[in-house]
C-alpha cells in the first residue's frame, strides 16, 4: 500500500563498501554497490538542489535555485519575505513538486520521486513555521508518535513502547525541558514550549537532516539562547538547515549563511562576508 520499503532502511548491506574508499574523492562512487534507502554522503554533501524552479500561476517562487549542504553542517538560510525559503522546504520534504530541477538526498535518493511519508522515513524531519503539535495528545504521546519505529497502520494496533524507547523519550523530554509537563496535553503549552516540543519530535524521529522553519519565533531571549545552544550541540550529529529572521540568533549559530532572494541564491558565505555583500545590502535596505 505504501511505496517505500521500511525494512530495507539502515541495515548494512553485506556488499556495501560505503566509506572504505571515501577518502579518494575522484573515485568515491566507483566500485560501490548502491544500497537501497541508505543515504550516501561519500561526496560530503547530504542535500543537493540543482536548478530547481517552482511556479505558482506564473509567479516563480523558486527560480533556478542551486544549493548544496554538507553532511553535519548547520546552515542558516535568510532572505526577505517571499524569497522562497518555505517553498524550498516544501520541495525538499515532498509537499511541493518542482516544475524543473533535481533534488538529491545524498548521492542516490531522488527526493522528487518520493512522497512526504517516504521522505520522512528516508531521514528528513521538518519543523513548521507555525508550531504544529498534536494538541489533544499529551507531550509524551507527541514524542511517542514521532519516535523512530515501524509506523505502518497494522503495527500501530499492537505497538507497545519498550524500555529503551521510553528512555529515549525521557531523554528527549529532558533535552527540551518538558519533563514536568510530559503528561499534560500539548495544547496547554506556551508558544515557546510548543516550539521546543516540535524540535523534540524531530529529535525523536532521529533524522539525518533537520529542516527548521523559524524555530525561535515567539521565544523569550532566554529560550532563544537555549535553543542556540541546543542547535550547536546537534551540529555534526545531524545536518541542520535553519530558516530565521532573527539576526542575533543567526549570528550566534551560523557558520555558513545562504541568502535567498526572489527564488534563487543571492549570496553564500560566512556571516561577515554576507553582511558586507553589496547585493545583500541592496536587497535588505531597498534600492
Amino acid at each position: 500500500m505504501s511505496d517505500y520499503e521500511y525494512g530495507n532502511r539502515c541495515i548494512p548491506h553485506p556488499y556495501a563498501l560505503v566509506g572504505t574508499q571515501a577518502d579518494s574523492a575522484s573515485d568515491a562512487s566507483y566500485g560501490r554497490v548502491v544500497v537501497p534507502g541508505e543515504v550516501d554522503v561519500t561526496h560530503g554533501a547530504i542535500l543537493y538542489l540543482e536548478s530547481v524552479t517552482v511556479s505558482f500561476d506564473g509567479f516563480k517562487a523558486l527560480n533556478d535555485l542551486n544549493l548544496s549542504v554538507d553532511d553535519g553542517e548547520l546552515r542558516c538560510i535568510i532572505g526577505p519575505n517571499g524569497a522562497g525559503k518555505t517553498t524550498m522546504m516544501d520541495v525538499i520534504t515532498g509537499k511541493t513538486r518542482p516544475d524543473a530541477g533535481t533534488v538529491y538526498f545524498g548521492q542516490t535518493i531522488d527526493l522528487t520521486r518520493l512522497n512526504e511519508v517516504a521522505i520522512a522515513h528516508a531521514g528528513i524531519g521538518r519543523k513548521f513555521q507555525k508550531p504544529t503539535v498534536f494538541e489533544n495528545l499529551s507531550v509524551f504521546e507527541n514524542l511517542e508518535l514521532a519516535l523512530k519505529m515501524d509506523k505502518r497502520a497494522w503495527k500501530s494496533l499492537f505497538a507497545k513502547l519498550n524500555g529503551e524507547q521510553r528512555d529515549r523519550i525521557d531523554e528527549v523530554l529532558a533535552t527540551i525541558k518538558l519533563s514536568e509537563a510530559a503528561h499534560g496535553p500539548a495544547g496547554r503549552l506556551s508558544h515557546g514550549q510548543k516550539q521546543w516540543l516540535e524540535i523534540g519530535m524531530l529529535l525523536a524521529q532521529s533524522p539525518r537532516v533537520l529542516l527548521l522553519d523559524e524555530p525561535v519565533a515567539g521565544m523569550t531571549d532566554q529560550e532563544t539562547a537555549e535553543t542556540a545552544e541546543l542547535f550547536l550541540s546537534l551540529k555534526g550529529k545531524h545536518t541542520l538547515i535553519v530558516v530565521e529572521h532573527d539576526m542575533d540568533f543567526i549570528n550566534t549559530i551560523a557558520h555558513t549563511v545562504t541568502v535567498l532572494h526572489e527564488g534563487h541564491v543571492l549570496a553564500e558565505g560566512d556571516m561577515a562576508t554576507v553582511q558586507n555583500d553589496p547585493k545583500v545590502i541592496e536587497v535588505y535596505l531597498g534600492r
Binding site: 500500500m1 498534536f134 511517542e144 509506523k151 497502520a153 494496533l157
Partner: protein, 356 residues
C-alpha cells in the same frame, strides 16, 4: 499514564450491570406471562432492539467522526447494505409460502422474472448471507474510501460526496429492475434458520445477540481508540500534514477505520432487519444519514459511550413524539441539534463530566 486502562473499575461495573439488564429483557419477554407487571411486550422488545441497532451505528459513526475527524453523511447506506444482504437470505427462507407460492421472491414473480439474478445466487445459505453482510458494505466503503482518501478529499467535500453516494444508492434501489424489491424493499419474512421469525424465543435470541454485539463493539472500539493506532488517528484528525512529516501515511489509517466503521454498520443492519421485519430504500435517504450524525453529536462525539446514549435519547424521544405529536418531531430534532451544537460541544457526556 501511557498504560491506559480500557475502562475504570466503576466503568466496568456499570458496563456489566447494563449488559445484564439488557440480557434480562428477552428473558422477561419469554418467561413472564403477558399481563404480569414484569412482562416485556413484543413491541417494547422490538423498539429497544431497533434502538440498540441504531446505537451500534452511532458508535461506528463516532469512530470515524469523533476519532478520525471524517464526517460521513452516508452511513445509512452501509447500514442498509448490511440489512439488504441479510434480507436476501430472509426472502429466500420464505420458500414457497409467499403470495405466489413460487421459489422466487414475490416481487420477482410480480415482475415476471423467470429466474434469480446472478447476485441472488447462494443467498439461501445463511453463512453466505453473513459473509455478504460484512463484505458488501466493507468493499463499497473500501473502494470509495480508497479513491477519496488517496485524492486527499476531506472535510465538507467528503461529507457532501458521502451524502450524494447514499442518495444515488437510494435511487438505484428504488428501481424495480435493480432486483431488490423496488420501493417496497423486503418484508413478510417467515423464518430464520428454520425458526419462525415472530416467535417470542426468536425475538429474544435476536435481541440478546444485539445486546452482545453492541457491548462487544463498545469494548473493541475502546481498545482500538486507546491503542497507538487510535492516537495516530487523533493526530491525523488534528494535523494531517504534520502526521505525514512525522512519517505516518494517513491512507491506511483512514481507510482502515473507515472500512471498519462501514462493516460495523452493516452488521447492525443485519440485526435490525429480522427484528423490525422490513428493509426498504428509505433507509438510504440522506435525512437518515444526517440523523446518525445528530445522534453522535448530541451524545458527545469522541467518547464512544456518548453516541450510544445519543442514539438512545433521540430515538426514545422520537418514538414518543411520533406517537403523541407527530408534526412536531422534526422541529424537536432540529432544536436538539442546535442546542447541542451551541451549548453542549461535548454532548450529553460532556455535560455529565462537567458536573461530575
Amino acid at each position: 499514564m501511557t498504560e491506559r486502562r480500557l475502562f475504570s473499575p466503576l466503568g466496568w461495573t456499570l458496563f456489566a450491570i447494563i449488559v445484564v439488564l439488557g440480557l434480562t429483557m428477552p428473558l422477561l419477554h419469554v418467561w413472564v406471562p403477558e399481563g404480569h407487571t414484569l412482562h416485556v411486550s413484543a413491541y417494547m422488545l422490538t423498539l429497544v432492539g431497533k434502538i440498540l441497532c441504531y446505537a451500534a451505528v452511532a458508535l461506528a459513526m463516532d469512530l470515524v467522526w469523533g476519532y478520525a475527524g471524517i464526517l460521513s453523511l452516508g452511513h445509512g447506506l452501509f447500514f442498509a447494505l448490511g440489512g439488504y444482504a441479510f434480507g436476501m437470505y430472509l426472502m429466500r427462507e420464505i420458500g414457497r409460502e409467499g403470495q405466489y407460492q413460487s421459489d422466487l421472491p414475490d416481487f420477482m414473480v410480480f415482475l415476471d422474472w423467470k429466474e434469480l439474478p446472478w447476485y441472488w445466487v447462494g443467498t439461501e445459505h445463511f453463512l453466505w448471507a453473513l459473509f455478504l453482510v460484512v463484505a458488501v458494505p466493507g468493499i463499497v466503503a473500501f473502494v470509495f474510501g480508497w479513491f477519496a482518501f488517496r485524492s486527499r478529499i476531506k472535510g465538507v467535500y467528503f461529507s457532501i460526496i458521502t451524502q450524494a453516494l447514499t442518495f444515488a444508492a437510494m435511487l438505484l434501489f428504488f428501481r424495480n429492475d435493480t432486483g431488490f424489491g423496488g420501493n417496497n424493499g423486503f418484508t413478510d419474512f417467515k423464518r430464520i434458520l428454520g425458526f419462525p421469525i415472530a416467535a417470542p424465543e426468536t425475538r429474544a435470541v435476536l435481541f440478546a445477540l444485539t445486546v452482545v454485539y453492541v457491548a462487544g463493539i463498545l469494548v473493541f472500539c475502546r481498545w482500538l481508540t486507546q491503542s497507538k493506532f487510535g492516537r495516530v488517528l487523533a493526530a491525523i484528525r488534528d494535523a494531517e500534514s504534520r502526521t505525514m512529516f512525522v512519517g505516518y501515511d494517513p491512507l491506511p489509517y483512514k481507510l482502515g477505520v473507515w472500512t471498519l466503521s462501514a462493516v460495523l454498520c452493516g452488521i447492525a443492519g443485519a440485526l435490525y432487519v429480522p427484528q423490525v421485519g422490513i428493509i426498504n430504500p428509505s433507509e438510504m435517504s440522506p435525512a437518515n444519514s444526517i440523523e446518525i450524525a445528530i445522534w453522535a453529536a448530541i451524545g458527545g462525539r469522541g467518547t464512544l459511550i456518548g453516541p450510544l446514549i445519543g442514539a438512545g435519547v433521540v430515538n426514545g424521544a422520537k418514538s414518543w413524539f411520533t406517537v403523541s405529536f407527530p408534526d412536531l418531531w422534526l422541529y424537536v430534532l432540529g432544536a436538539l441539534f442546535v442546542v447541542a451544537t451551541l451549548y453542549l460541544p461535548r454532548g450529553i457526556v460532556g455535560l455529565v463530566r462537567r458536573r461530575g
